[in-house]
Amino acid sequence: MLEIFIFATLNGLVTGLLLFMLASGLTLIFSMMGVLNFAHASFYMLGAYFAYSVSLYFGFWMGLIFAPLIVGVLGAVVERYGLRRVHQSGHVAELVFTFGLAFLIEEAVQFFWGPDTKNYQAPDILDFPLFTLFGQEFSAYRGFMIGISLSIFITLYHILTRSRIGIIIQAAITHPNTVANLGHNVPLIFMGVFGVGTALAGLAGVIAGPVLTTFPGMSIALGSIVFVIVVIGGLGSLAGAFIASLLIGLLQSYAIASDVGMPELLNLLGLEFERSHPLNDLWTLNLPRIAPILPFLLLVLVLIFRPTGLLGKREE
């Protein structure tokens, strides 16, 4: 029991941090533009594919460095020459633009790399068990995922809260006009934040690709969950996104690890049903199988009991 719990927690942490790498950029970009960027997860997918291609010629580590950079530059270009122009036409136009972009990227990925799953692998040096506990192995690659996520977050947190540029970014997000009047180039700051946000999504793709498989549907698979996280955490709240990411990562991981079926759950609640009941199909359900819909269940609950999200503020 304890071993299952420890491993489920570690795996939940890996997923949670990965989700936050996407959710943090999405949240920052939302705070800036006022709309959700539906193409955000597409940049995540691009990260994985670029890294795969680079790794074929120059190895995994070059991919780790260059894929996020390429994705970040691409994001900045999209902001500068796409979104910034569409922005004048209002939020609906921006939403449609990011939708279209998501489709475009997916089609482009299929066109250039094909519809099949890519054999993108973790590097050999990380192909060993980091530690063995109760006879179960925890791979070094997962440890590496935790390490790299945490170090990126700590660095970004320091830049955002301690440095001058971080202070300017914080202020520009909430008071763009005032910051511009003080002599700061707000459009350039927005382009930079958009670029860094997409680069983070790209990095998430680079490190997730080998574990979650690299295929054209990977952006949709993760994208919907990331939107759920951003809403659960409270639109625009980085801390909320962090909590929601870990919450969903852990929740899913525990659900998958627990081998509990519906009858046991209902028994726990003191309910007893006969096997011949018309809702018989429910009996075959078990927690691991409903794990994928847990985020959405949580979303519904949060929206009912706390419509602004965990740490969201009410619109003023």
């Binding site: 202070i167 914080q170 909430t174 008071h175 006009n177 005032t178 511009a180 009047n181 002599g183």
Partner: protein, 231 residues
């Protein structure tokens, strides 16, 4: 050094500025007076590029109509908006850092000195700007703009809603600003400070400048005051 010629501005279809003309010379304190809604704030916002200008705005001889706000600020135009837009979740110190246009503080002002001039701010350097009183926020807002070392500062209703004691502090800061050779365009509704410190005054009515003079001449012009200023 700031020359506004036949300036027009619109909010949608409403024609708010209908040919505004005025100028501010180097080191001068000039007030822009008028009743509520005559377009004083719109005038400074238009100069700053926050509202689209039609007409000519020259600063140090260069046409700035059509430039971005941040470029205009870099040329040396400072602006303190009427809503005291401090950043509530940043500390007093961070608010001041935001006013600086580059990493090094140079020019006429530095943070230590501001804290010495205004001990209320100094004592609260690490406190979030949002918890300051209205008067302290006004001071912070003016100091923040000064950190960018402007050659002219446009201040929109700095004394609105403040207690007389704090109004005095504002007046002192304005004189300190002027003594360092920074020109001031003071937007006001009340005459009190404006008459005391201005070199010249303009009175606006219905989107135009309707009177230009000195504090003395305005004191004498009872008809102007009755028609355009007194309520």
């Amino acid at each position: 050094m700031l020359e506004v010629n036949d300036l027009h501005a619109y909010y949608g279809k409403s024609h708010i500025l209908q040919g505004v003309n005025f100028n501010v010379q180097e080191g001068e304190i000039v007030s822009l007076l008028g009743r509520n809604g005559v377009g004083r704030s719109t005038t400074v916002k238009t100069i700053m590029g926050e509202v689209a200008p039609v007409g000519s705005i020259k600063f140090k001889g260069e046409e700035i109509a059509g430039k971005n706000s941040f470029e205009i600020a870099h040329l040396g135009l400072g602006y303190v908006p009427e809503n005291r837009d401090i950043f509530p979740t940043l500390t007093v110190q961070q608010n001041l850092v935001l006013g600086m246009k580059s990493n090094k503080s140079q020019g006429r002002w530095d943070i230590e000195e501001m804290f010495r001039m205004f001990p209320n701010l100094g004592e609260r350097a690490e406190v979030n700007g949002g918890v300051l009183s209205g008067g302290e926020q006004q001071m912070l807002c003016m100091c923040r703009t000064l950190m960018g070392d402007p050659d002219i500062i446009m201040i929109d209703e700095p004394t609105e809603g403040l207690a007389p004691k704090i109004v005095e502090q504002v007046a002192l800061l304005l004189q300190e600003i002027a003594s360092r050779g920074v020109a001031i365009l003071l937007v006001e509704q009340k005459l009190s400070i404006a008459l005391k410190i201005s070199h010249r005054l303009y009175v606006m009515g219905h989107g135009k400048v309707v009177y230009e003079g000195t504090p003395d001449s305005l004191l004498q012009a009872d008809d102007v005051r009755a028609e355009w200023l007194e309520v």
